[in-house]
């Protein structure tokens, strides 16, 4: 396991220049996630219209893996339905936990996180954003 498998170009790009950083003013779903093991702290907010995720942002602070993963995630789920996003989350968990499979097509930039599976200590960092997204959905529509 070389460090380059973990800290890929794409991950470092997203870490140093995160996409969709910030908070949506009037979100449909929102939650805060906390990684007890290293103190990473993330806020995810989502705007859904007609069942489709039209915008999503994240804020917070943390390590390269947690921040890059959240950044990639926000890119990836836009334009999808909630169900699609959840399914993607579950595929993502499979991938970073090392379950065999072909993730290339669906994962987009997130494929750059495949190397995390070789670093069990960092799996929690990679999944923080996704768990927080799911948590936001689970808490239900804020406006209702």
């Amino acid at each position: 396991m070389s460090l380059n498998d973990l800290f890929t170009e794409i991950i470092l790009d997203h870490y140093q220049h995160p996409h969709n950083h910030g908070l949506i003013t009037n979100p449909t779903y929102s939650s805060r996630g906390y990684n007890e093991s290293c103190g990473d702290d993330i806020q995810v907010s989502v705007l859904v219209k007609d069942g489709v995720i039209v915008d999503t942002k994240f804020s917070g602070a943390g390590c390269s893996i947690s921040q890059a993963s959240a950044s990639i995630m926000t890119d990836l789920v836009k334009g999808r339905t909630i169900e699609e996003a959840k399914k993607l989350a579950s595929r993502f968990y499979d991938m970073v936990k090392g379950t065999e499979g072909d993730y290339g097509e669906e994962m987009g930039d997130a494929i750059s996180m495949q190397g995390v599976s070789k670093f069990p200590v960092r799996v929690k960092c990679a999944t923080l954003g996704w768990h927080t997204l799911e948590e936001a959905f689970a808490k239900g529509d804020i406006k209702e």
């Binding site: 470092l12 140093q16 890119d75 990836l76 200590v121």
Partner: protein, 420 residues
């Protein structure tokens, strides 16, 4: 410095080496490795003398009881306690602190009473007081930290008053390595009519400690941080205090007489040791202390301070590093951050070279806020480390962080999105 190659005493180093992986263990403030004689003492206890203690009426149980009580005496003499009965065995420093917070605090603190802690406490000397203050209405105050990462005694003076009932401070900070002037703090607490507790989780393992010289009423330690097994810790308290205190946990061993709805308690320390204790843990702790005494605690302290000073100097050369360590009274604990590289990433970088450090808030979140960081990386040295470990740390750090050095701006967001 300790001249002998003490790594040889600790089987884990040899075992990892033989697996082809180096182990440069720099996380001893979290828990220390165990010398062979501690491991053997557990084996020996279970394979030859295992029985329950105190109530036994047969030889084997008497032997186990004697071994357990000899461990108590060993802890007492190690920290200069006047008598073994001043030592209560617990699981760890955390339980010792909770024991005092609950057994003393729940029964002696009242609305408006004040407990003084400090800016550099471990959660284990914070959260118990949060719980007890919620039950009693007692108020928490804090000794301020100076810009040189030391406690400001003027701030203690300002906080002390007629309502102060307890001053409880950490002896050596697990983040900064600062050795606090606990003798002065205890004297000031006593002058104000308050009790004084010292969290010795990071001092007992690393320097000679004399609780009578310090003058504290309570002192706590964890066995696993001083070459001993997990699951054993101790509380030292002045015996008269233990006698006056209400018990904490109720159960077997800690009572004289039990009626259906009342009980009267055994004398200390038994009053505070409900249920079957960690007998093997105590036996292992005794072996650990014997090992430390063989090395000599003054040697341990000198060794670590020398390593700490050396590491502070060497790491200062690393580009973008910020070190959180007092200019004097530092120890073998070095916390640091590196610009643009998160501590967790630093830890992974070092781990890939077999170097184990800790990254995070080190169970000291209020201190992190004072330092204005979310977390730090921390290397902590022990008697089995040497200068080559420091060199390895610095070299791996320099090599690893280069990965994170500023890069070209990524393509604008849309393109990434569109590429899906």
């Amino acid at each position: 410095m300790i001249q002998r190659d003490t790594k040889k005493d600790f089987p884990i180093f040899g075992n990892w080496k033989s697996k082809g992986k180096p182990l440069i263990y720099l996380d001893s403030a979290a828990t220390t490795q165990k010398p062979q004689e501690v491991i053997t003492s557990l084996d020996d206890y279970y394979a030859n003398y295992n029985a329950n203690v105190h109530r036994g009426t047969y030889e084997l149980s008497q032997i186990a009881t004697d071994m357990y009580e000899e461990a108590r005496s060993k802890v007492a003499s190690f920290i200069g306690a006047a008598k073994p009965e001043s030592i209560v065995f617990t699981r760890n420093a955390t339980e010792s602190l909770n024991l005092v917070a609950y057994a003393w605090g729940l029964n002696n603190l009242h609305e408006g009473d004040e407990v003084i802690l400090s800016d550099m406490e471990h959660h284990s000397n914070l959260v118990p007081w949060h719980i007890i203050s919620r039950h009693t209405g007692a108020v928490l105050k804090f000794i301020r930290m100076s810009s040189d990462y030391r406690l400001d005694l003027q701030s203690l003076k300002d906080n002390l008053g007629p309502k102060t009932k307890m001053v409880s401070v950490v002896h050596v900070s697990n983040v900064l390595g600062t050795i606090n002037p606990v003798k002065d703090i205890c004297r000031m607490a006593h002058e104000a009519g308050a009790l004084a507790m010292v969290d010795g989780a990071q001092s007992a393992p690393h320097m000679p400690v004399d609780v009578r010289d310090i003058g504290c009423d309570f002192y706590v330690l964890s066995g696993h941080k001083m070459c001993g097994p997990t699951g054993i810790g101790a509380l030292y308290a002045k015996y008269e205090l233990l006698e006056k205190m209400e018990p904490f946990l109720g159960g077997g061993e800690m009572i004289n007489e039990v009626f259906p709805t009342t009980s009267n308690y055994a004398r200390p320390p038994y009053k505070f040791e409900a249920g079957t204790p960690n007998i093997a843990g105590a036996v292992g702790l005794k072996a650990a202390i014997s090992y430390l005494e063989k090395i000599g605690m003054q040697n341990v302290e000198d060794h670590e301070i020398e390593l700490g000073d050396y590491a502070a100097k060497r790491l200062a050369e690393v580009d973008g590093i910020r070190i959180f360590r007092p200019t004097t009274t530092g120890t073998g604990v070095i916390s640091f951050t590196v610009d643009a590289v998160h501590p967790h990433d630093i830890s992974t970088i070092l781990d890939s070279e077999g170097i184990a450090i800790r990254a995070g808030h080190h169970c000291a979140q209020p201190l992190m806020r004072k330092l204005e960081v979310q977390s730090t990386a921390r290397a902590s040295f022990y008697l089995y480390n040497d200068k080559s470990d420091v060199e390895a740390l610095a070299a791996a750090l320099e090599k690893g962080i280069s990965i994170f050095r500023p890069r070209k701006k990524a393509a604008p967001e849309q393109t990434v999105r569109d590429a899906r």
